[in-house]
């Protein structure tokens, strides 16, 4: 990590930010280079944590963990004014992602108000395995 940071082009050439205006073409090329480099490094870092978490998630799904969690959360749903079945998309969202959750919401018949409540719940917490791993790596 350190050698990459030390060889960042801005630091190497010793010029401070874009003040001296080295011409648009040169600036574009420099920004492009920095951007691609930073993008690739980030991509690698994210990939390293996301892929294993994704694998674990798939296994949990296959083992029926989501269904079991939904069964446990069922009684809590009435507190939110939602039918017990709404626990399924919520848990799908927690373990998988919002797209999977949206998919399983389609199967339920919810009012606009219930959809909004469930959307808030799912959006506050989702994809918890991949997310938690990514953010602990970051900190």
């Amino acid at each position: 990590m350190t050698p990459a940071a030390a060889s960042s082009p801005g630091a190497a050439s010793g010029e401070p930010s874009p003040q001296p205006a080295p011409g648009l073409g040169a600036r574009l090329r420099r920004d492009l280079r920095i951007g691609v480099k930073a993008g690739l490094r980030t991509f690698w870092e994210l990939a390293r944590v996301m892929v294993p978490a994704y694998g674990i998630t798939l296994v949990l799904e296959r083992l029926g963990v989501i269904q079991r969690l939904a069964q446990l959360a069922r009684p809590l749903m009435s507190l939110l004014g939602l039918p017990g079945d709404a626990a399924v998309p919520l848990m799908v969202g927690y373990v998988l992602n919002i797209y999977a959750a949206v998919g399983s919401m389609q199967a339920l018949h919810l009012s606009a108000q219930q959809i909004t409540v469930l959307a808030i719940a799912i959006l506050i917490g989702h994809n918890l395995l991949v997310g938690a791993r990514s953010s602990t790596r970051r900190a």
């Binding site: 940071a5 930010s17 874009p18 574009l28 920004d31 492009l32 920095i34 951007g35 691609v36 930073a38 993008g39 690739l40 980030t42 991509f43 870092e45 994210l46 990939a47 996301m50 892929v51 994704y54 694998g55 798939l58 296994v59 296959r62 919002i98 797209y99 949206v102 919401m105 389609q106 606009a112 959809i115 909004t116 469930l118 959307a119 808030i120 959006l123 506050i124 917490g125 997310g131 990514s134 953010s135 970051r138 900190a139």
Partner: protein, 150 residues
């Protein structure tokens, strides 16, 4: 078993491809626009908002990106700015806590809007909730750190 493995491989490739195709262009575009006046004005306005959860001006830009684009796609900017500005553990803690609850407002809102949810309430509620939790957790973390030092 083999079909689980196949799902894992295709799913991973799909995930990585999407992250790659979005992260790299975002980093390039940001590198181009970061110095411009409209971008700075936007960050300053946002800084005045997130100041209330304890984030300083240098943390405002990565927080804004994460807030709008999400953690997978904004993660690059967040990691880069934490390193580049040496933001410190306290700022990183606050930023992670806050962003873990509100992020990707642009994409998520569109998805749930398609289902018929009220975007205003979803976004407003998430921001308020995230702010409250962040303030609480920061207070707890501050206490813990202080006690450990004492």
């Amino acid at each position: 078993m083999t079909d689980l493995l196949r799902t894992f491989v295709t799913g991973s490739v799909d995930l990585l491809l999407r992250v790659f195709l979005i992260v790299v262009p975002i980093m390039v575009v940001l590198e181009l626009f970061e110095g411009t006046r409209p971008f700075r004005a936007m960050v300053r306005a946002w800084a005045r908002v997130v100041r209330h959860v304890g984030l300083n001006e240098r943390s405002a830009a990565p927080t804004l990106i994460g807030f709008l684009l999400g953690l997978a796609y904004g993660g690059g900017v967040i990691v880069r700015d934490i390193r580049r500005h040496d933001l410190g553990r306290r700022q990183v803690f606050i930023m992670s806590t806050f962003l873990s609850m509100v992020h990707a407002v642009a994409e998520d809102s569109l998805v749930f809007m398609a289902l018929g949810a009220s975007v205003f309430w979803v976004v407003a509620y998430r921001i308020v909730w995230a702010a409250l939790v962040t303030l609480d957790l920061t207070a707890v973390a501050t206490l813990v750190v202080r006690r450990r030092k004492a």
